[in-house]
Symmetry: C2
Subunit: 80 residues, 2 copies
């Protein structure tokens, strides 16, 4: 078993209202040192055999990310 | 500027219908080697100065994760 992790984030030029809402709540918790919050998705794909990054990239491109507003990165991770 | 990344995933015993929907769609794409898909959140906290992991843990615990159904991990990441 091998795990490929796909991180999908909104592109920097796209507004992130969910992250903004969290950022706006931080001063009420007494937190002033956080300047920005961005919220995206983390997807774990468990492969039966060897992890196939090209296959994972195809899955991310077709099913997991919207290339108009999102970008993604891939990496193999040891399951823990 | 320093970035702390918080990964929030559903606990293993909690059903993940969003991930299941993706997993069910994979055979239609001709993908048979992925046995499981889990979808969670990735949150990027940008700190003004030094990253403060204890502070980030407090934010994750209070605002980002629901400890009843989710677990989270924290790490410092170089902004890129």
């Amino acid at each position: 078993m091998a795990r490929v992790v796909v991180d999908v984030m909104l592109k920097p030029e796209i507004l992130d209202p969910q992250g903004q809402a969290v950022a706006n709540a931080l001063p009420r918790l007494g937190v002033s040192e956080v300047s920005s919050v961005r919220i995206g998705k983390r997807i774990e794909l468990e492969f039966d055999g060897e992890p196939d990054l090209d296959r994972a990239r195809e899955i991310a491109d077709k099913l997991l990310a919207n290339p108009v507003i999102e970008s993604f990165t891939l990496r193999v991770e040891d399951p823990s």
